[in-house]
């Protein structure tokens, strides 16, 4: 993949992928036009931060205020690169079934709206870093779920779901709210009354026997008046079985989103038709959202301080742990590869890495409290954890370049 150079490209082009490789960048004309307009406006104002980072913050802020405008498209274009690299890395670490790169990429980029919703620019870490973490987790979780779905019977799959996932799958197929409520109650009754009698394992869970179907129908009808609307139908063993099999089918369909119209322009945002935010809003001078050089400088000072705190904290870790961090973040080895290289158990690698991160995070948290007067809640510390992750990645990359 050839990295994009200009601000215009960064915020208006999309990666075209073949099954397992990058083909080229494709420009979205409407996004391009919009970026050019904004650049022109910015050139007229003084003292604005027009760096990549500045524009990311600007589009994100615009997205927060007007999620329906083109900002989603610009940020989606921007995050193509990290998404591609994370998908690639996940591919190279995969064992067993191989999923095409393009599929992994699409699974990851589908989390865009969640990323934009939860990213908090005031806590130091860049959008790229935060998005990369989410992309990685999303791909890892989805691949595991797809694998489980592949090896499970319908009945075993139905046990392995959250209610929310079931409801989302049913919603995607366009069922009415009343129908969904009936299906969910059927599912609850099934889960209450059917599992293997021999062992807790459920992958190969068989179809319920007739006596169980009768009991499921009975429980459904007993709960029906309390849980469903008065017009909801009575359940028979036959209808309940049909519903549950449909549930399993819809859940599988939900796990394997169709890979059509991959990642071109705004299609993945799911926000429907996007509106040009200019010129309609030109009078509102959206550029006032762009952060100033002064703010940028403040951020840089803080980053330098954090770097100092963490560098000092790092030297207090024992040399063995430091080696581990270098292998993991610098050479980007997997925990498994490190385990082999150092001849220790993978569990040990994982435990040592997290305890190293724990002590660095503790230092960072304490420093933030003393210096920045941040009150230390779980949420605040979880933001710092992303900052730490970013720092460790950067540090690792620098070590390699040395």
């Amino acid at each position: 993949m050839n990295p994009r150079q200009s601000i215009t490209e960064l915020f208006s082009t999309f990666a075209k992928l073949a099954d397992d490789h990058f083909v080229c960048w494709i420009c979205d004309r409407r996004l391009r036009r919009n970026v050019l307009k904004h650049l022109e406006q910015a050139a007229k104002s003084d003292g604005l931060d027009d760096s990549e980072q500045g524009w990311v913050l600007y589009w994100h802020q615009l997205w927060q205020n007007h999620p329906e405008n083109l900002a989603t498209g610009h940020l989606s274009a921007y995050l193509q690169e990290p998404c591609y690299w994370v998908a690639r890395k996940m591919m190279s670490h995969q064992t067993g079934t191989q999923y095409p790169l393009a599929d992994c990429f699409q699974i990851a980029i589908a989390s865009l709206s969640d990323i934009l919703k939860r990213y908090s620019p005031n806590h130091g870490a860049s959008l790229k870093t935060y998005a990369s973490l989410v992309f990685g987790n999303t791909i890892r979780d989805s691949l595991r779920q797809q694998h489980e779905a592949d090896i499970r019977t319908d009945w075993g799959l139905l046990r392995k779901l959250s209610q929310k996932r079931l409801v989302e799958s049913l919603q995607q197929t366009g069922l009415s709210a009343d129908a969904i409520a009936s299906y969910v109650l059927a599912w609850t009754c099934f889960k209450t009354l059917w599992t293997s009698g021999d062992a807790p394992a459920t992958r190969r869970l068989s179809r319920p026997d007739q006596a169980t179907w009768d009991a499921i129908a009975q429980l459904y009808n007993r709960q029906r008046p309390h849980q469903l609307s008065p017009t909801a139908p009575q359940g028979t063993p036959e209808t309940l079985e049909r519903w549950l099999l449909s549930c399993a089918k819809y859940v599988r369909a939900y796990l394997y989103p169709a890979t059509t119209s991959l990642n071109l322009s705004k299609s993945e945002s799911g926000a429907g038709e996007l509106q040009d935010d200019l010129p309609d809003r030109a009078g509102a001078s959206p550029l006032t959202d762009l952060i100033t050089q002064e703010e940028l400088q403040e951020r840089q000072t803080q980053q330098a301080q954090i770097n100092e705190v963490l560098t000092t904290a790092l030297t207090t870790l024992n040399p063995q742990i430091q080696t581990l961090l270098t292998l993991y973040y610098g050479q980007q080895l997997t925990q498994q590869q490190i385990a082999v290289q150092l001849d220790i158990k993978q569990y040990t690698v994982s435990r040592r890495l997290s305890s190293a991160k724990e002590s660095l995070l503790l230092k960072l948290a304490q420093w933030s409290q003393e210096t920045l007067h941040i009150s230390l809640t779980s949420t605040a510390v979880s933001h710092m954890s992303v900052v730490l992750e970013e720092w460790l990645e950067e540090k690792g990359r620098l070590k390699i370049e040395d």
């Binding site: 690639r88 959250s162 062992a199 849980q227 980007q332 994982s350 890495l353 954890s385």
Partner: protein, 222 residues
């Protein structure tokens, strides 16, 4: 930059003896789904407890009624870590879309905890993972109450999914974790007895849902 932090996801193996014992003890329960729920809670408690012992400087102590008879009714168990109360909430679900907590653990003053841990049990691989946590305050203020099964649920993405954060929090001055909850109405002995009779009927598959809300909650606490 390529960030793939897999340091926060840890799978703990369920020891064979814990598995066998829990399975055996759950057999007293006749309804299959409730039996499995009792099993999940027992393996969860018996696997997480030694993990806490290994990780924490404070000795963890089981602090809830933990027997198949309770787990048949309500999912979850509690462990005290000094003055901090952890509520373990096992689930079979493999997706991390939501975190569902029975109302008893949120609204009953004597059951309330500080931290609620979301734990997936993989009964086929005989292992479990603590994939995130929430505070009582998060459940109470951001959680959706579902009258259908009397639970509070949070979107999975709203949980703190980085357990490193949890351990760091244990080393800092305690954060505010609990929302205020109103005291329960009083219930006469006769009323309580009547409710207990109603749920004691083992033929009822979903006994939690058979008694009125605040009374049912009160009833379990006895």
């Amino acid at each position: 930059m390529v960030l793939i932090s897999d340091t926060s996801t840890q799978w703990l193996e369920i020891p064979q003896t814990v598995h066998e014992q829990s399975w055996q003890q759950s057999q007293v329960i006749s309804i299959p789904g409730n039996r499995l729920q009792a099993y999940l809670n027992q393996v969860c408690l018996q696997t997480v407890l030694p993990w806490l012992q290994e990780r924490s400087e404070i000795e963890p102590v089981i602090s809830s009624a933990s027997s198949p008879a309770v787990w048949e009714l309500v999912n979850g168990s509690a462990i005290a870590l000094g003055t901090t109360r952890l509520v373990l909430m096992p689930t079979e679900a493999m997706d991390k879309s939501e975190f569902r907590v029975p109302q008893e653990w949120v609204d009953l003053p004597s059951w309330v905890g500080d931290y609620y841990l979301a734990i997936e049990i993989d009964t086929d691989e005989q292992s479990l993972t603590i994939w995130g946590y929430a505070t009582h305050e998060m459940l109470k203020s951001q959680g959706q109450y579902d009258p259908g099964d009397r639970t509070y649920s949070l979107d999975g993405a709203d949980l703190i999914q980085d357990m490193t954060v949890f351990w760091v929090m244990q080393q800092l001055v305690a954060e505010p974790t609990r929302s205020e909850i109103p005291a329960l109405p009083t219930l006469s002995a006769a009323q309580a007895e009547a409710l207990i009779q109603r749920v004691a009927d083992l033929a009822i598959a979903l006994p939690r849902l058979e008694v009125p809300l605040n009374r049912g909650v009160l009833c379990w606490s006895r």
